[in-house]
Amino acid sequence: MKIAQVLSVLLMVWLLSACEPAKVQGVDYDKRSISIALTQEPPDLNTTSSTDSVSFMVLTHVMEGLLSYDRDNNLVGGVAERWELREDGATFWLREDARWSNGKPVTAHDFVFAWRKVVDPANASEYAFILYPITNAQAINEGELPLSELGVRAIDDHTLEVDLFQPCPYFLGLTAFGVLNPVNQEFYESRGERYAADVEDLLYNGPFKLTSWIHGASLRMDKNPEYWDRDNVWLEIIDAPYITEDSNARLNLYRDGMIAMANGMNEQALLGAMQERMQIKTFMDGAIFFIEFNQRDERATRSKYLRKAIQTVLNTEDLVYKVIGNPGSFPARTIFPRWMKGVDDDFVREFPPERVPVDLDLGRKYIELAKQELGVEQLPPITLLADDSQGGSKVSEYLQAVMKQRLGLDVRVDAQIFKQRLAKMTSGDFDMVISGWGPDYNDLLTYGDLFYSKNLNNRGRYASEEYDHWVAVAQRSLQREERAQAFAQMQRLIVEDAVIVPLYERGVVYVQNPRLHGVVRRPIGGDPNFRFARIAAPEATP
């Protein structure tokens, strides 16, 4: 396997060296059309149950929520024209010209129906929790109250009233999330189990609508003539005639002029693209990776000194630049990604995370203290749970070697397939795990509450009253400064208690037709987004 891969790379380099610079197309200026390749068939276009990024990428084009994002990722009006967020609720005034693709108006009732569906236990939505700030949402989802008790009402066709049982500072951002999109009850019920299964089984209210969908093969979106802001949508057609997970295949399609963008390139594809001097673009997709320690009682990693020892000897720069070598990724020093906003500026600029300098002597001192703390002569071998991918094993082997070399620590790498790694993380069967986290909504809290003692995603069971206090402040306060301070305190505790060792923020590497402009890349809510895309006119041939 290994040899075959090396051989194939060598052969590829040789074949590529014979290549002419790629001609790049995948765009048609006259038809205002672009072609792209999807990584996967969208598994679920029913907004009330969807969970994956490919579905949300399609949905962000064909659907619209109360609010939406402009090209600079600011929240702007979508179906809602005006809104008001209070401590105990929110009101949205819907625009009169928002329409479904069948010409019927989008009304407040469509939101009430959709949100009830999301928390309906029978619908079993994995994102139901995201509506829990709404009054009674949790009780309904647990089957204790009827759907009608959900704190959301249509005052009239164009006014939506929401009750929040506690202040929810990020609620406006949530309304731009696909799960909170409207669903027309009459249409939904007319389709039954087929809802969202095919082009004609879905109603659209976004800038585009699905016009063709051959499962597993292709998908096409055309501009939606009923969309209220259609005059500001330049593109007429987004065609996805190819669906493949293979990033080399996508790059080859790009080289052959069949698609306008080759997204998510792996190492091999990147190598090929660089050989041909293509312009490589990168973008941070919001995922942040870290070593999480298991703090359960029976684990050696419950010792704070052992965790600090590891924190003190790891050099993340080396890991990111020398081992991972993906030009889009950055070393991480905190759990909060660098693009997230604080009060006025990026959060990490306003509150720079503490830098832990690499100090081998201090690291060894910590090891001695850890032995005392645990009351052992010799530290037991430590298990590092990791995924079994090629990139994953590179990282875990590097970490294993560094900990052995610098601390004399025996680390056993436990490489598992995705679902089994998750099962082991949940049951606590690890000492350290290389874990990742992607955002659910555009607020620091989506990262910060990860180490809240009751959060189920807190797999290491870190429990600190002080941390919980700051999470509670961030959950309830509507004051931006106060919240930012709370996040800064969480950040301090993460370093102080060595809850995790932040490793890197992931970057996605891609190439794109230089004539294609205005493609919005964003970590939250459907990426990439072609809503504002334009194609530059072809240069007149001399």
């Binding site: 074949l15 014979a18 939505s125 994995e126 499962h215 597993g216 493949t244 080859n252 052959d256 949940t426």
Partner: protein, 314 residues
Amino acid sequence: MTQFIFKRLLSGLITIWFIATATFVAMHVVPGDPLANAKAMKPEIRKNLEARYGLDKPITQQYVIYIGNMLQGDFGISFTQKNRRVNDIIREHFPISAVLGVLALLIAAIGGIVWGAITAVYRDRWPDSVIMFLVVVSVSVPSFVFAMLGQLGILNLNQWWGSSLLPVAGWGTFQHMLMPALVLGLGTMAYLTRLMRSSMLEVTSADYIRTARAKGLSPLRIFFKHQLRNAILPVVTVLGPAIAAITTGGFVVELVFAIPGLGRYFVQAVQQLDYTVIMGTTVFYGAFLVLMVLVVDILYGFIDPRIRVGKSGA
């Protein structure tokens, strides 16, 4: 003949039942949680999901329900594609894999027989060495390497020509099928070449060939009428399993060439522990294999009258 077919069908059904049961057991024994997602689920949400897929019931009851549904030809709804029935997935995607598979097998069979015959005729001379070297390469290099190389080959061809002669990937026209079918059939072609070669050599030294030569028949007639026809038998034997292997083994080729075949669903389902799709595709492929073996057994009789079933009278 009818009795033979009936008997084979019955044993086929038992085989399929066995496959279904074994898959069911294996799937539940394999570590990992089909409902687990990157983000942890609140217990109440998990409970809702379990209820939706019937995973809250005891395992024996799940088995009974599942076999019952299977008997009615219903494989249930996919775990990952929440509004698609497994039956629809098979119905929409198997024909694509089948078309690709048949084309690949055609290339493999014709190629294998021709190359095999040539190597046997030119035994130990240079055409034999060259072809056998290529055979060893084709058998030992994994198909994903050939798939990548094939795609790069098309790409370079297109760039050299200046416009798209052949599509790099995708599905729809006959041009789309050529390279994937070639890549997919390559391994089988190499295998068949070897098989054909050895069986040709065996036949060459047989008594009836000597008799035919002694009778003064023309070499061409001996080759086609006596050698080829007898040597081809073992090749036909492996065609049945080969067609099943080719149609199921196309995963990598389907991935690289962006072909919407069933192989992709088959493999992804295993990775994602999509219970219903695993069960549906495995049982379907199992049934397909059983059917192909049966077809070959019947075909056998037409090629070699000596083993025509049911007429043996023994």
